[in-house]
Every structure is written in C-alpha cells, then in structure tokens.
Amino acid sequence: MNSQSEERKVRLGLLLSNIRLEEKLLIQEAQRRPDVELTLVDSREIVLDLQNERSLDVLLDRDISQSRAMHALQLFQNSGVKTINSYEAVRVGGDKLLTSKALHDAGIHTPRVRVAFTPESALSAIEEMGYPVVLKPVDGSWGRLMAKIENRIAAEAILEHKSHLSSYFHSVFYLQEWIQKPGRDIRAFVIEGETICAAYRVSDHWLTNAARGGRAMECAVTPELHQLCVRAARAVSGECLAIDLMETSNGFTVHEVNCAMEFKESLKAVKADIPARIIDYCIKAARAAQHQKEYQHV
C-alpha cells in the first residue's frame, strides 16, 4: 500500500504575508525538491470557513502577523492539516507570560517574572523586585517597546506613558529581573528534538535583536546547550523554533522562544543550512501525516 503513497507529492503550504529573505529562501528550497508541491497561503487574501480544508499535508507558519498566524493555524490544524508549529506552540511562544510559565513549570532556568495589571500594582511589584527591571509587552517582538527601568522616577514615568497606550496588551505589566549579560545573548535553532546550530547576537546595546542591529557570531552547540534548548522546545511543544538564552554566572537562562523565527542574520555565522533543515522536517512530518491518514482510512 505504501508504494503509491511514497510517490505522492508532499503538499506543503507556506502561511505568510510579507516575504522576507527567510521566506524567499524557504520557497526556493521547497521548489528545488521534486517531491514537494508548494502552495503560498497569503494570510492577507485567505478567507477561512469552519469546514474541512484538507488540500494540504502540512502548513509551515511564516506569517509576520502573530494574530493572523494563530487563528489560521487553529483552523487548519482542526481540519486535519499538520501545522508547524502547532497552534498551541504558537500561542505559548507568542505570549511571553505563557512562555515564562511553561519554562518555569518544566524546571528550566528562566528570568524571574512578575505580572501586574495596573500602574499602581506594577510600581509596587517593581519596588519589590529591585532595580534595574525590564518591562516588556507580553506579545512583543524585535525588542519593540521594551524598557529597562533603573529607578523609581523612570518607573513612574514609563508606567504613566504605558497607561496612555491604546492596545489593551499594554495594561498587562510583564516585569522581568535584569540579567547582567556579557554584551551578547544566544539564539539556538531547534528542529525536531535537535539543536542544529546556535549564534551569539553581539551588540553594544542591551537589546541584541538582529532587528536592532545585533550581529551574529558562531556559537558552539555544547551538549549542555543542546539539551537545554531541546527541553525548552519541548516545554512549549515546539517542533521547529529558535530559543533565545542569556549567559549568567550561574549558567544559561532561557528568556524567549520564537516559533516563526527569523534567521537571516544567524545564517551569516552558522554552518547549518537552516532553510534546508526546515523543509526537510516539513517533508518528514508530511509523510508521517499522509501515512497516518491512510492508516485511518483502512
């Protein structure tokens, strides 16, 4: 029964809107594979219904819009399409509070966090945590709207400004202890239980995001780093993602996971072919999903 299914092409969908270098590399990689039939699923154009939509074996999320990704993945996944990552992983990865909780519950070293919902309670939380402290939007990315707060006067000013921002997410005050890191942090890439590569992100600024000018340098994947990243990926049920960590005098601390991760800066420093590894995994996952469906039909 398998000879037929082995010949069937893998129907791979790429959920995206803007096509950055990452998406372009993934598209080119998929087009080089004779066994892949590629569909670009533009989240700005799709209209989804609640019925089954099974014309794909696997959908890889590369959408720059987290809210579109999350809702689209939920519908695709519920109608039997294998999505990478899962809706659950994207929901946790896209929310810093859920991420911290998942890491903490899995016993993974992650910076100390407090959450408060009003400027007043946030101020008392900050005073209790001690300075400096980092205030982050729970749903942010690229270092956007992050504040390092060094004293009470700054805290009061930032909290007042925040209370005038429109999005309701800004009334969630996610506070994190300041980690004194050595002018860099680490981004490690995990695919299917393997840490395939890692890069330091070096910057003079405390925000080391590539989007903020952080430069990549190769970072060796030690057994310790490998195992920690795999555990972090598992804690958020992510299959294909980037783990962000900082070095402390006390070992690594994991501060973030990124499901639709960017990698163009890292590619300059690492040896692994990240887009090829992602497409390899998509094909493997799609084959497994095809077999499972055939099995169910017998």
Binding site: L16, I19, K24, I64, Q66, S141, A242, N258, A260, E262
Partner: protein
C-alpha cells in the same frame, strides 16, 4: 528588471529571482518596498509595522 521607487522616484533593481510580495529596500532612500507585480515590475511602499508583527 527594475521599477520606480514610489518614495524617491529612483530606479530600483529587482533581483533576478524576485517574487510577488517580496520586501525590498530602496538603495537610495532606504524605504521598504513590496513587489506588487512582476509584469510589469511594480513596487509599492511596504505595509507599516503593526503591533502584532514579529517572529
């Protein structure tokens, strides 16, 4: 293949393997551009960063 930058009017060279919806940068004025069509090559200002954008 080239198209006009809608911001500064300069000529922007499209890469050989350009695809629709690809994001490019204008070498002269630095603005982000989106490839709207390949025939004829047409560029528009890329969508502005939204609050839920990221990785």
């Amino acid at each position: 293949m080239s198209a006009e930058c809608p911001e500064c009017g300069s000529k922007v060279e499209l890469p050989e393997d350009a695809v629709e919806n690809e994001i490019l940068e204008c070498a002269l004025c630095g603005v982000e551009l989106e490839v709207i069509s390949l025939s004829p090559p047409t560029l528009e200002l890329a969508p502005e960063e939204k609050e839920d954008w990221g990785e």
